[in-house]
Symmetry: C2
Subunit: 466 residues, 2 copies
């Protein structure tokens, strides 16, 4: 790395940077471009570069870095792949970004117990590549090829969660560096345990505010005997959503059931060179035995027909399925491409499945009235959907309308018994809604934060105001 | 109630009792028999009666009781049905036992979303009776007809956990009275959420040490189209356990797969008037479509045969299945009946499935060498098994040998990557093993405890030494 000598004016003479450089040498960067890159995620939230970026190579090194920061009361911001969507990696109060990208070793695969342990920087695709000869896979798929540490930290879920659960259900244990540099191991390899407080679940979803996750123990699954995927367009949005609701209520164990509205389908056709009907559409995937998959597909086909769905377009070959899901995962970029030079403001909510049609239909009406460009996509089997506002952040009026519409949608979801975010997390973007959703319980979250991080150094300014 | 006037000498003039009596009238009891009954669970742990027992009828009332106790720094011990197994309800330092038995309302059933909300005193059987016309059921079944609040507090699991998970996976949210009497609501009705710290999972398994759970929101399931159960005896223990391991590793979605050793089968034949072979035995249950259940049964039958299993004895009628599972659930009482006047010391560990044979076989050898009477039963699909030492607590030598054998088993489980308790919890009985299992992480548990209960009033002396 050539960054060692590219020290910026602001950090010259910074004692934290000097101590860390002594520790890390070239693995500490203060170059403007590296700092800028680590100061933002994929969202519209403004960039806040850290004072320096430390490229850690082991848990012990992370602990050393955190200890230096603790001594100087300097914030610590963990960085995985930077694919979060609520500003989770921004260094709001300066500090040291710890880039986990070099902690990319798969430490252990226990095929007979369906578990593995990875360093936090291993990405989900890297893990699945590593597993390819074992007959096992890790199903959680938030779209981006995120790091597993980052996915644990943000309680990620995505398209497969309807069947396999989220990171909450699939993390068995963690190695965490605490705010004072101590290292703890949570959870374990047993499938269940009643031994003490569930620290694993406390750190999953804590967005780096309670400590730095350096290793993750995960549950694995056998690759299903049969997999098939299908696309089905509907006459209208209501029909598509009602088909989802009945599918879930019928207990059909679909592996993926994704909704894309006609705006998103148009964007996807253009961006991914597809030729789908520009209509509200569901993407399905079925896992199981040959017979089970056929049973599921038949049952879902009947439900779809009942609600105005057209014929299923089947994607049976693995490469066609991959193309389909890649197109789905590229939704965000496809939406951005609808308006060159724009930024995306992605937001998500999640409601009980019986409230999904009401929540989406009212939100769709809001969008139409607002004249904003905001395709809807969603992991609708969980009751989870996303808007992606395609905006010009310099247009104050557009930003104000976006903010108002987002707030209306979140408050609607809460009124329907839902949550202000199904999977993107709170970050800096949804702090006001956390209080609306959890009320007095937020004071308990604050007490826990202060118990583990009394100086508010671990990713400060995220989730909670301290 | 006639307890109002039965005040004991110790509590006369106790200001806490006086304040609570003003609040609760006859719903506060200081009678010796009520206090004694609330001072112990079903385990061998000694009785520690509380100063008084408060029969709460609402969350608000629990909050009032806790506030009185907080003001006087008097311990609070939540009491469900008293069926815990590690001394969780004993009032080690005196205090007020809050009996949740009258908070027995099912508050809400949302059939279309497969969730419900109950007061903490509702038992699992009561809930399932309430649900009988909805086509839904709540699967978690620890054997005892425990309260759902108590099951949440101890992270209960039991026979169905291999398919449906434990209370960890099936509690969607909680109402909790904190140590200072504030009331919080955790979680919600959405299937997933990334909104802040996972307080639900923190309170699940906290054994009353962080607050009093007063309401529980639970996940429900559709009653399977088909259910069948079978019993299969094996030539030897090793064969039975290896059949379990291969069943789980093959991904066959059995709903129950329970092991009972020949000592337990003998006890069960005597106690429940059954006529099973006195051999290591597996009890199975299969849930699914007619076709799915047949597929599962066939696959498991082949595996059993491979490992020396005999023919399957099928129990297809619901009443026969109930009789079978009742016999399984009565294992503890059946074992006690082997030695009239004895007490049971039930202990459990859980290991990765690949280590189950090793752990059970070595433990069996230990038992045989020790000359102790200790049948083995287990929810072996999870890698979880139990010993029930049938002991005379007044025989110091027997108690010492029991303690030594228990410790050897726990340390063996930990060495194999397991946990010191799969489902009974820490209570007072396994505090020393919590540290062996979790090391430095226990200090984090302690910090959380002190953050939420700085005066150590919530069920003190359980899980952690403060």
């Amino acid at each position: 790395m050539s960054t060692e000598t590219a020290e910026t004016a602001e950090t010259a003479g910074d004692p934290v940077v000097e101590e860390l450089r002594a520790l890390l040498g070239a693995r500490l960067s203060t170059s403007d471009s590296v700092r800028e890159q680590h100061g933002h995620d994929e969202s519209y939230h403004p960039t806040h570069p850290p004072d320096a970026v430390a490229f850690a190579e082991s848990t012990e090194q992370v602990a050393e870095i955190v200890k230096v920061c603790a001594r100087h009361r300097r914030p610590v911001i963990p960085f995985g792949t930077g694919t979060s969507l609520e500003g989770q990696v921004a260094a709001l109060h300066g500090g040291i970004s710890i880039d986990m990208g070099r902690m990319n070793q798969v430490l252990e695969v226990n095929a007979e117990d369906l578990d593995c342990q990875v360093q936090a920087g291993v990405t989900r695709k890297q893990l699945n590549t590593h597993l390819r000869d074992t007959g096992l896979f890790f199903p959680i798929d938030p779209g981006a090829d995120a790091s597993l540490g980052g996915m644990a930290a943000t309680r990620a879920s995505g398209t497969n969660a309807v069947r396999y659960g989220t990171m909450r259900e699939n993390v068995l244990g963690l190695t965490v560096v605490l705010a004072d540099g101590r290292v703890i191991h949570t959870g374990g390899r047993a499938r269940k345990s009643a031994a003490g407080y569930d620290l694993t679940r406390l750190f999953v979803g804590s967005e780096g505010t309670l400590g730095v996750i350096t290793e993750v123990r995960l549950r694995l699954y056998g690759i299903p005997e049969a997999t098939s995927a299908a696309v089905c367009a509907f006459d209208d949005l209501e029909g598509a959503i009602n088909a989802v609701i009945l599918t879930i209520q019928s207990g059909i164990p679909v592996s993926r059931i994704e909704f894309l509205d006609e705006v998103q389908m148009d964007a996807l056709n253009r961006y991914s060179k597809m030729n789908f009907a520009v209509l509200p559409t569901l993407f399905f995937e079925f896992h199981g035995t040959e017979r089970g998959v056929a049973e599921q597909a038949e049952a879902v086909g009947e439900i779809a027909k009942e609600f105005g769905g057209g014929d299923f377009r089947w994607e049976s070959k693995p490469e066609e399925r991959n193309k389909l899901w890649q197109a789905r995962h590229d939704s965000y970029y496809a939406a951005l491409a609808l308006r060159p030079g724009s930024k995306g403001w992605a937001t998500d909510v999640c409601v009980p499945i019986s409230k999904l049609a009401e929540c989406i239909l009212e939100t769709k009406r809001d969008i139409e009235e607002s004249k904003l460009l905001a395709p809807i996509v969603g992991h609708v089997g969980d009751g989870n959907f996303h808007l992606c506002f395609i905006i010009d952040p310099d247009d104050a009026d557009e930003m104000a309308r976006t903010e108002a519409l987002n707030e209306r949608m979140v408050m609607r979801a809460l009124a329907l018994g839902g949550t202000c975010t199904g999977e993107h997390g709170i970050g800096t973007g949804k702090m006001q809604f956390l209080l609306a959703e959890h009320g007095e319980a937020v004071s308990v979250m604050r007490a826990l934060k202060l118990a583990l991080d009394p100086d508010n150094l671990m990713n400060p300014g995220k989730i909670l105001r301290i």
